[in-house]
Symmetry: C2
Subunit: 231 residues, 2 copies
């Protein structure tokens, strides 16, 4: 095996935007949002900080770019199947996001940040478009397209964020931790004063055995039902 020991020579355009994005995603997957530092990036890519700024701008811009990349990939992934119903199309988009957040938990937080900081940026628009497009096929009157699509999008984003514990939740790293976490939450609700928290008390049982994915789909079904009823 030839020696790999090169002196720190100048590299000429071996660093690309895509390389930086890939490295950033790896760092985020490994260490959450705190895991992405300019220094960690330059170490991993064996380059200087200036090179990062030259290619992808600010750390914050990189974070946006990287979120866009993950979301766009999730939205573009089509299941190789027969032409689906509009309901199915919506489910595909929703589950695509669900799965993307499952492998890249930091996306949940960033999605939320984007929603508030850049409410009509590419990420939000991409999701809105994919889901909203089905309104016509569903026979929803155009006057309520916006509201119907908003409901779906917000539910999906919210549910995806809340479901994917473990990404940024400190102390929750494994699936076992996750289960423990949910059981602890369920227990905590049961111990709440039923006079003050009748609802949380009542649903504490459902939390223990429920399947996330199933629950998620049930929520979508409920909204689709509601929309169907208004058309």
């Amino acid at each position: 095996m030839a020696t790999r020991a090169r002196r720190t020579e100048r590299r000429r355009q071996v660093l690309s935007r895509e390389q930086i994005i890939d490295a950033a995603i790896e760092l985020l997957d490994a260490g959450g949002e705190g895991g992405l530092t300019v220094r960690a990036l330059t170490d991993r890519l064996a380059t200087g900080s200036g090179a990062i700024y030259y290619h992808v701008g600010t750390r914050d811009e990189l974070l946006d770019t990287v979120t866009e990349t993950v979301v766009a990939t999730a939205l573009d992934t089509k299941p190789a199947g027969a032409p689906a119903t509009p309901e199915d199309e919506i489910r595909v988009v929703a589950l695509g996001l669900f799965d993307a957040v499952a492998v890249h938990p930091w996306v949940a937080t960033r999605l939320a940040v984007q929603l508030t900081r850049n409410p009509w940026g590419p990420v939000t628009v991409g999701i809105f478009e994919k889901i909203g497009r089905q309104m016509r096929a569903l026979g929803v009157p155009q006057a309520i397209w916006f509201v119907a699509a908003s409901t779906l999008v917000h539910y999906v984003l919210g549910a995806v964020s809340q479901t994917q514990i473990g990404g940024d939740t400190p102390g929750v790293e494994s699936v076992a931790d996750r289960k423990k976490f949910l059981e602890a939450a369920s227990m905590a609700w049961r111990e709440l004063d039923p006079a003050d928290y009748p609802f949380m008390h009542a649903i504490s049982g459902q939390m223990r055995e429920h399947d996330d994915r199933e629950q998620f789909l049930a929520g979508i079904a409920l909204i689709l039902d509601g929309i169907a009823n208004l058309r």
Copy 2:
């Protein structure tokens, strides 16, 4: 006017947890999440950094505490009126959050962060409880309480975040800026390729003249309709 020039003498328990929280809220209102630094806090309160940590812990913990405070206040504010229908109660909660975020825009981001980082913490539970409690009165079958309440909560949180532009959006500070921002977004959608973005293109018109609060309430009405239909 007597001289205020005291030497930097020790103060004895003049600093309280509440004072720090109040000061933090002021800093956040003035400068967004970036405006809250430990140093800015110690300057404003004329104290040392250790005192902050002694009373409220970490900056991140303070951020959580402060969000809890604002949300709890919003949830506790009752309109002095007659006993309301369950639908009205839900609207009161939703609008309470809407208004709280309007005056404290940074709450939108923090609400989202809490949803992903501490999905069943006091803030989320508080909101869930207030809204979920109405499910029984609405006659919703208990089997779908969780899903029905989730839909409402996620819609409210998402809509509130996306509606309140100006809080953390750089370059958007005044109401006029906000209007310009929305018009620019609307224009941008119109310029999108209708082949790629038929939906955004179709609803771009609705964005210009719509009233946020009205739209927000329309969304809630839609979900309540959907829920009513399932009971």
